[in-house]
């Protein structure tokens, strides 16, 4: 955390749940500002969550903290993303 230059840049965001599975939740940020794909355990809800419900959260701007390229991580994350898109079933 000490690597950040702008440590407390959290802003309030809102979004909509656009996909729910037994294990995951996908949140589309309002204003079509991107999507967040998270484990369901990261979502706090009063009752069973439903697609289309609004969520609110604080988020900071991500900062590049290391100029190094992590090739292995990059490859595996890209592969996973491609496979997920190819599977057609999940965003």
């Amino acid at each position: 955390m000490d690597k950040l230059n702008f440590i407390s840049s959290e802003r309030y965001y809102e979004g909509i749940i656009i996909e729910l599975t037994d294990g995951s939740v996908v949140i589309d940020l309002n204003g079509r500002m991107g999507q967040l794909r998270l484990p369901r355990r990261m979502l706090i809800c009063q009752n069973e969550p439903k697609e289309g419900q609004r969520v609110g959260f604080l988020m900071t701007y991500p900062e590049v903290i290391d100029e190094e390229i992590n090739k292995n991580y990059l490859k595996s994350a890209k592969d996973q993303l491609r496979k997920r898109i190819d599977s057609g079933n999940i965003i």
């Binding site: 998270l38 979502l43 706090i44 009063q46 996973q80 599977s87 057609g88």
Partner: protein, 617 residues
């Protein structure tokens, strides 16, 4: 924000800062003072700077303002008239304690009261805990998970105070070679697995489209693997039901469940640990493989898109268990002469000691956030029910059930903080608590963590009632991972605490998993983080509960049960508090506590290898 009289009394030694603008001549009351809990935040954000001579709340109450002050002004002697100097009185208080206390340089204090057969330890620096342990613990303190048989024999307590409930024997069969053959059997120290068993395993599960069984010997630790969904011991009942009798266990070999869906998406894709095995496993944790063990790795492929639906991961586990079950059958037939060592676990109630219960929160949000409970075979599937299907309600088991594999874990969020099936099989907190003759471990309660808050509080309420009925003197609540499960974790602690039962919480929090909620009963918390950065670092089992954490939790509970005050934690995570606590427990009990390595030990070996390879080129 003004404070009340009660708060002012509680915080009389905190700095006095005005909460609003006040005119000259105002007589200072609690309502003029800023809440001391906010001061560190205000200080950090640079809004206020506290001068050295700032007065304390206890000193300024009743005094008169000499000048008009703005909001958030630290009150110093030049601004206030008629304040009472608290220093003298508080020094007297300290001195009173000083008669029994010797203050160390590092602000930690230790107290010996030899006459009363007690040692009292006060651990300073923010997260202050007090420990009171009757003297005999020193003579019987060395505890480790292996020499259990001797430990139990060595106990001196008189028999009428102890009641033996259950006994569990583990017989270990050494395996140093695993190979494929025509029939699954154990031949000496070689385990032979039927080469086409996987075909039937695939057919047994509708959602499983393919499966490979691979034997990973230590020389293949540097190969790629899909995400590790579970690490499981291979064990079977020889006699008695789960939780008692005799269990046969294979030594030197474990099952590793891995898998993807047809499209190649990792099952339990969040925080998945796919990659080179040796770099992604924190070897030697209670829930991970030991270095040198042979891994029977199943690589299960399930139907496309089913990796995030509950039946998907379950099918992968069931298909793996098909293979394991065949090995179990072979293990049942193995010759008795092949037993290399035995371990004996006895669950005895120590009726004259403080009654303690362990509450383990397990995941129950769905998909891989689930657990099978109470199978027929250790860590099996047959006969078990998923805790999600049970409604996540509290389930009470004996400590021996836990050590006999009553949990088949499907649970996953980040690999570093997930508790695998093997973790429960070697659960360090249960082992420590069972061997601790200062307490009376009554039972272990599993409680699921559902998704929605409404259900969380429902489950929590039931847990409170369960614990109330047990009439315990203390409880330890643990949870794995982080996320919304901290909501019910906090609620469990509250439900127990509000019934007047001392309670200690254990979780990974550190930097990334900081608790989202808290309450007044969460004053004794044990941090499970081991990672350097305080984060989920995708290394299997890195941040899971280890023996060192179990020891800290038990001593913290003993301190709380003895009515000692536990001071608030530091504002930010740092491992100094942990190390300090460990040091003080070591000092008081004359017991060496081995601290486990973290991911840096892996990185070193990886770097070394790179260096070596470079040289080879």
């Amino acid at each position: 924000m003004a404070i009340t009289k009660e708060q002012a009394m509680e915080h009389k030694d905190s700095y006095a800062i005005t909460c609003c603008r006040f005119e000259e001549g105002t007589v200072i009351e609690p309502s003029h003072i800023e809440d001391p809990n906010l001061i560190p935040d205000l200080e950090e954000s640079g809004l206020i700077e506290i001068p050295e001579d700032c007065l304390k709340i206890g000193e300024v109450l009743g005094a008169t303002l000499k000048k008009t002050v703005d909001a958030l002004t630290p009150l110093t002697p030049d601004l206030v008239e008629g304040y009472t100097k608290l220093e003298e009185t508080s020094r007297e208080e300290i001195e009173e304690i000083d008669k029994e206390v010797s203050v160390n340089e590092d602000e930690s204090t230790e107290r010996h009261e030899k006459g009363i057969n007690n040692i009292k330890i006060q651990i300073g620096e923010g997260k202050d805990i007090n420990i009171e342990i009757p003297f005999p613990v020193i003579t019987s303190s060395a505890v480790s998970s292996t020499p259990i048989t001797e430990e139990i024999k060595g106990e001196k307590s008189s028999p009428e105070e102890e009641k033996e409930l259950r006994r569990l024997t583990r017989k270990y069969f050494k395996i140093d070679k695993v190979e494929f053959g025509h029939e699954t059997k154990i031949d000496g120290t070689t385990l032979i697995i039927r080469e086409d068993a996987y075909k039937e395993a695939i057919d047994s599960q509708e959602l499983v489209v393919d499966m490979k069984v691979d034997i990973i010997t230590p020389d293949r630790y540097n190969e790629f693997s899909n995400t590790i969904m579970d690490v499981q011991p291979i064990a079977t009942k020889e006699e008695g039901e789960l939780g008692e009798g005799i269990t046969r266990v294979l030594d030197g070999v474990v099952m590793l469940v891995t898998g993807t869906d047809e499209a190649g998406v990792q099952i339990g894709e969040f925080g998945s640990s796919e990659g080179i095995l040796e770099e992604n496993i924190m070897w030697g944790r209670p829930g991970s493989p030991e270095k040198g063990e042979i891994l029977i790795k199943t690589d299960v492929t399930i139907k496309k898109g089913k990796n995030m639906e509950r039946p998907g991961p379950m099918a992968a586990h069931k298909a793996t268990d098909f293979i394991t079950q065949e090995i179990r059958e072979a293990l049942k037939k193995a010759d008795e002469s092949l037993v290399v060592r035995k371990e004996e676990f006895v669950h005895k109630r120590r009726l004259n000691k403080k009654k303690v219960v362990i509450v383990k929160e397990i995941m129950g949000q769905g998909a891989m956030h689930d657990n099978y409970l109470m199978p027929q075979e250790p860590v099996g599937v047959l006969g078990a029910k998923a805790n999600v299907d049970l409604g996540n309600v509290p389930v009470v088991v004996s400590p021996l059930h836990v050590l006999d594999g009553c949990v088949h874990a499907l649970t996953c969020i980040g690999p570093a903080s997930k508790e695998t099936s093997r973790h429960y099989f070697r659960e360090p907190l249960v082992l420590e608590a069972m061997l601790d003759d200062e307490i009376d471990l009554a039972a272990v309660v599993f409680v699921g963590s559902p998704q929605a808050n409404s259900e969380k509080f429902y489950v929590s309420k039931l847990l409170g009632l369960t614990i109330e009925a047990m009439d315990v003197d203390g409880a330890i609540v643990t949870t794995e991972g982080f996320g919304n499960n901290h909501v019910d974790f906090a609620s469990h602690i509250e439900e127990i605490g509000k019934r007047g039962i001392p309670v200690v919480g254990m979780t990974f929090a550190a930097v990334q998993g900081q608790l989202v909620v808290g309450n007044e009963h969460m004053d004794a918390m044990v941090e499970l983080n081991k990672s350097e950065e305080g984060i989920e670092n995708e290394i299997l089992e890195n941040n899971c509960l280890c023996q060192e954490d179990a020891i800290r939790a038990l001593y913290m509970l003993k301190a709380k049960m003895a009515g000692e005050e536990i001071l608030p934690p530091e504002r930010k995570y740092g491992k100094d508090v942990i190390l300090n606590n460990i040091r003080l427990i070591e000092k008081a009990t004359d017991r060496k506590i081995e601290l486990v390595d973290n991911e840096t030990s892996l990185k070193i070996s990886q770097n070394r290898r790179n260096e070596y390879e470079k040289d080879a080129e």
